[in-house]
């Protein structure tokens, strides 16, 4: 879901920045209210955490490997607003410090992965948590990948419609929804399964660690 710069039109990324900026401001207030004086250190730590979770290998059956995102795990462990802010900061860090991923794709990814991914995961966790913790964790991980991939596919797929040259040629991402939806969403439904598995295992290991620290 890492979109380089140059595939998203300004008609898309400028409004996306406006929406994201509003949500960032609100999220900052929410997180500050919950954590009081400790907001900044915790935000920094979870940003670094989110950064490294995106490097963790997500084993796929058959020997392949994808990269984890850790969105579900972050949201379930530390809340949706914190997850949204941390993921947004990671995207900024990657774009402006590591040269990885684009500054114009940043608000799209922040809204898709950070905002939608976090809150969808949280909703799955709350909805199914009473039924079975493992199922809820798995679904939180799965939907935190699946739903953002649909959004990214939609945003990319509408580019040829909203940014065309006088001759009707695409100016930015050149493929329509009929290609982006299957090409982006289908693989992510699979990657989501692997992410779901990692969310269950990662949360369980962490719970054990925490139990040890408590004694």
């Amino acid at each position: 879901m890492h979109i380089p710069d140059g595939f998203i039109s300004p008609q898309t990324y400028l409004p996306a920045y406006a929406v994201a900026a509003g949500l960032w401001a609100y999220a900052a207030r929410r997180v500050k209210r919950d954590l009081d004086a400790d907001t900044l250190p915790f935000l920094a730590a979870y940003t670094a955490l989110s950064f490294v979770l995106m490097m963790v290998a997500l084993p796929l059956p058959g020997g392949g490997t994808a990269h984890a995102a850790g969105i579900g795990l972050l949201a379930v462990s530390f809340g949706g607003w914190m997850g949204f802010l941390a993921i947004s900061l990671v995207l900024a860090m990657q774009a402006l410090l590591f040269g990885d991923g684009g500054i114009t794709a940043l608000p799209i990814n922040a809204l898709a992965m950070g905002f939608t991914g976090s809150f969808a995961a949280l909703a799955a966790w709350k909805l199914f948590g009473r039924l079975n913790e493992n199922v809820a964790l798995f679904l939180a991980g799965w939907i935190s990948i699946a739903l953002p991939s649909v959004l990214v596919a939609l945003v990319l797929g509408i580019q040829p419609l909203i940014a065309q040259s006088a001759q009707g040629a695409p100016l930015f991402f050149p493929f329509g929804l009929e290609i982006t939806l299957p090409a982006i969403v289908l693989p992510h439904l699979l990657v989501g399964i692997a992410e779901g598995g990692l969310t269950v295992l990662g949360y369980r290991y962490f719970a054990r660690l925490r139990a040890k620290l408590a004694t």
Partner: protein, 184 residues
């Protein structure tokens, strides 16, 4: 305004311009200008930018060329524009990273520089630790590890990183208080 903040502003304006201009000639001119501004680092920046966008752009360009061939239209104008734009934007980003100090560019907000600085240094430490987790599994594996082992290894690393970040957060919160640094 300090030099780094001016550089950030200039970079953002250049990015906006590069997405508002659609004539390949102007995009190429912009690329030339950006490389000229890179001075002696130009070759290195161009090489790294090419490497960074190669896989994604090659996949997109080839698929588009095939689609054009099947539907019998000329893809060249679109492909040249698209690839020039992506390359220009990537070169601009790398030039900004090489020349400007992001932390100084953002020092108007004490909170933001604090969070970014702390997150960045922690991220570098985590990146090294992550490499060790990966190598340790390699080192202990006499054959291709089973799927369940790979899951367990990733999950153990994940849990370790969560624990370390909680610990780091608590430590830096205490350090903040002892230094009398309050949120803005």
């Amino acid at each position: 305004m300090n030099r780094d903040r001016a550089a950030l502003l200039l970079y953002l304006i250049a990015v906006l311009a590069a997405t508002l201009i659609h004539d390949p000639v102007w995009l190429a001119a912009g690329l030339g200008l950006a490389l000229l501004a890179s001075g002696r680092a130009a070759a290195g920046i161009l090489r790294r930018a090419l490497l960074a966008v190669l896989a994604f752009n090659l996949a997109i360009s080839l698929s588009y060329a095939v689609m054009a061939w099947l539907q019998d239209f000329s893809p060249w104008q679109t492909l040249i524009r698209l690839n020039l734009r992506v390359l220009l934007l990537t070169v601009l980003s790398f030039l900004f990273i090489a020349r400007a100090n992001l932390f100084r560019a953002l020092d108007f907000s004490q909170g933001l520089t604090y969070v970014l600085g702390l997150a960045y240094s922690q991220a570098l430490i985590f990146r090294r630790a992550h490499e060790d987790f990966r190598l340790a599994l390699d080192s202990r594996s006499l054959r291709r590890p089973r799927l369940i082992d790979r899951y367990r290894a990733s999950a153990a690393a994940t849990a370790w990183f969560i624990e370390k970040s909680l610990h780091a957060a608590t430590q830096s919160a205490q350090a903040l208080r002892s230094r009398g640094f309050f949120n803005d």
